[in-house]
């Protein structure tokens, strides 16, 4: 039975008070996605790839956002925010020098230590590239620790592609294989066309040595997992990051709960083996 020290807990620091941060730079990436590079005003954010933060716009509210940078990129951290709600729409007006509140980091991390020495296959659909990029950047900054690296990126149309400069840079590297596809091309698009699973036919996997990191909308996740399983990647090496509306980040408010699991604490990163057992995961 869990034992609680009520008096000690009564003196604990409140986990709900945001710390102040300042925007170093901001850029509208697509019509709905805005990129921010942010620095904490006091102690730097100590985070690892896969974690998320609560972002406060004072006077509006708070929203949970995945960190899209890697701690190897310095003390500041980066967020890619899709404008879908009150807080995220307000963030459209925010730019260099503006102040925000930050809580976190929250959640577990991608198993980047366990993945060392192995092949890594990244599959990122839509905004799923944001959390995935935290690990891609980490792996690329520690390139020698990992074996073959393959990056598959999909978007509905070219205007929705995130991190286009980086996609180009990754495509130009000879130590990484990067393939990008769009569902609906425009006239200027000369790359791959079709859903992201089509890219599996273009790559070679050493399934027994591969970790597949798959992040994207539920429908994409389902069919991409199917491809990875068909290639022979074991269920416990298919890694995903689940989207839920974490309101507290500390396993109290209940919004992110899947069965008995609080995604904000035990997730957001899970193996397919775990997600499958949860049943309500995807």
């Amino acid at each position: 039975m869990t034992q609680i020290d009520i008096h000690k807990g009564a003196e604990a620091e409140s986990p709900y008070v945001p710390k102040m941060a300042r925007i170093l730079s901001a850029e509208q990436m697509t019509e709905t996605e805005r990129f921010f590079r942010i620095e904490m005003e006091e102690a730097p954010l100590a985070y690892q790839p896969g974690q998320f933060v609560g972002v406060t716009v004072f006077g509006v509210g708070e929203a949970p956002i995945s960190i899209c940078s890697s701690p190897t990129q310095g003390d500041a951290f980066e967020l890619t925010v899709r404008s879908v709600g009150l807080v995220t729409n307000k963030l459209k007006e925010f730019g260099e020098g503006d102040r925000l509140g930050i809580r976190g980091p929250f959640g577990n991390t991608f198993p980047y230590e366990e993945m060392k020495g192995k092949d890594v296959l990244f599959v990122a659909g839509g905004l799923g590239l944001a959390p995935t990029r935290s690990l891609i950047r980490y792996v690329l900054d520690n390139r020698g620790d990992y074996h073959k690296v393959t990056i598959l990126v999909g978007a509905r149309d070219p205007s929705l592609l995130l991190f286009r400069d980086e996609l180009e840079a990754w495509t130009g590297r000879d130590d990484v294989e990067t393939l990008v596809t769009v569902d609906r091309p425009d006239k200027a698009w000369s790359g791959n066309v079709g859903v992201i699973t089509r890219l599996f036919a273009k790559i070679q996997l050493d399934a027994a040595a591969t970790y597949a990191v798959i992040v994207g909308p539920p429908v994409m996740f389902k069919f991409t997992v199917l491809e990875a399983l068909a290639e022979g990647v074991p269920e416990n090496r298919i890694i995903c990051s689940l989207e839920r509306h974490m309101k507290c980040g500390v396993g109290k408010c209940g919004h992110c709960q899947i069965r008995g699991v609080y995604v904000c604490r035990e997730g957001p990163v899970f193996t397919y083996e775990q997600v499958k057992r949860l049943r309500e995961g995807i």
């Binding site: 009520i6 004072f58 109290k252």
Partner: protein, 349 residues
């Protein structure tokens, strides 16, 4: 401490003494049924007059939960006219909850665990640390909807500082903690006599014979019984009656899920982040930005509540998520019963 008793006539003086130092909340008469004067309705409230306390109360729609875990609670204040400088808001005052039935004492122990485990929540725990719980034992079941004996909440091992056992003209007083012993000091108690001890024994025997098990299996098997029922059509069947109104959550003494909003001052000088009760039965509870809803079906939300109460919390903390008080059933317009549901799923595969 040796067993003690308090004469019923001396109860009001003790309550007054407690009220001098602390806010004292307890059950009082709320209203009487016009057509049946014997049908009295009680509620938990802050006592203004010691004589209002009704230790003979039976049911309350809401338990004493709100004194520890208020329906709205301010968490953080910040400024908008200057640097936001966000600061925690942690408020508490010395309080006594007087007359807490065993089910509600057990529920408080569950809330303590929920807010205290992993990352502690001082907004709850500071109030809790400043609150004394005076329990009141039950001699007989309060209502057919209750199944506290099954859920292990009829004989609580924690969640109270003093336990009172009403026995005719005297009240048996047992202090369980240092705080409890300090509270009892202001009561005109006397050591229990042999007759008192015999009366106490008689109460215990009557209590044991008045309560009966209602589930066809032991509590320790409930998580497994629930797991076996996961794919059963029973959830869809029960959910046909459910209105997703959340009354079950509102009245539950262990529910603690919450939503959070920022309230802005009229002159725009600052804002306050406030949490308020939320309900896993409302259709937007598990919705994420962009509209994906991970518990879109009413049956999946109903199942989630029943699993949380009977399995998840129990497995994670060893504390019951449902104390068997029956409040959710009594509050449900569709008469959905958690007890009957736990009986019904016993045979599902």
């Amino acid at each position: 401490m040796l067993p003690q008793v308090l004469k019923r006539n001396d109860l009001a003086a003790w309550v007054e003494a407690l009220m001098a130092d602390r806010t004292v909340a307890g059950p009082v008469l709320k209203e009487t049924n016009v057509s049946d004067p014997s049908d009295e309705k009680f509620e938990w409230t802050v006592l203004e007059d010691a004589g209002d306390l009704r230790l003979d109360y039976n049911l309350t729609v809401l338990g004493p939960k709100s004194f520890l875990w208020p329906p709205r609670q301010q968490l953080v204040a910040y400024r908008l006219d200057d640097g936001p400088d966000p600061q925690p808001l942690i408020e508490h005052e010395p309080t006594v909850l007087l007359g807490v039935h065993p089910c509600d004492a057990t529920a408080i122990a569950t809330l303590d665990t929920a807010f205290g485990k992993d990352i502690p929540d001082p907004h709850y725990l500071a109030r809790r640390a400043d609150t004394a719980i005076v329990g009141l034992d039950c001699a007989a079941p309060c209502h057919e909807s209750s199944f506290c004996l099954d859920m292990g909440s009829l004989y609580p091992d924690s969640g109270f500082d003093v336990m009172l056992t009403p026995m005719g003209e005297v009240i048996f007083v047992e202090a369980a903690t240092d705080l409890g012993r300090a509270l009892v000091k202001s009561a005109a108690v006397r050591p229990a006599t042999k007759d008192d001890m015999e009366a106490r024994q008689k109460f215990a025997e009557e209590k044991r014979s008045n309560f009966h098990y209602k589930l066809p299996y032991e509590l320790k098997y409930l998580p497994e019984v629930l797991e076996q029922s996961y794919d059963s059509l029973v959830w869809e069947a029960i959910a046909r009656r459910c209105f997703s109104c959340g009354s079950c959550n509102t009245t539950c003494p262990t529910c603690y899920c919450w939503d959070v909003t920022d309230d802005i001052a009229d002159d725009l000088s600052g804002g306050v982040r406030t949490r308020r009760y939320d309900s896993c039965q409302l259709d937007t509870f598990a919705e994420v930005a962009g509209g994906e809803n991970f518990r879109e079906e009413r049956s999946s939300r109903l199942r989630h509540r029943m699993f949380r109460k009977g399995k998840y919390i129990l497995e994670q903390t060893g504390r019951v998520g449902c104390v068997g008080c029956g409040r959710c059933e009594r509050a449900c317009v569709a008469k959905i019963s958690i007890k009957d549901t736990y009986v019904q799923i016993a045979g599902t595969r």
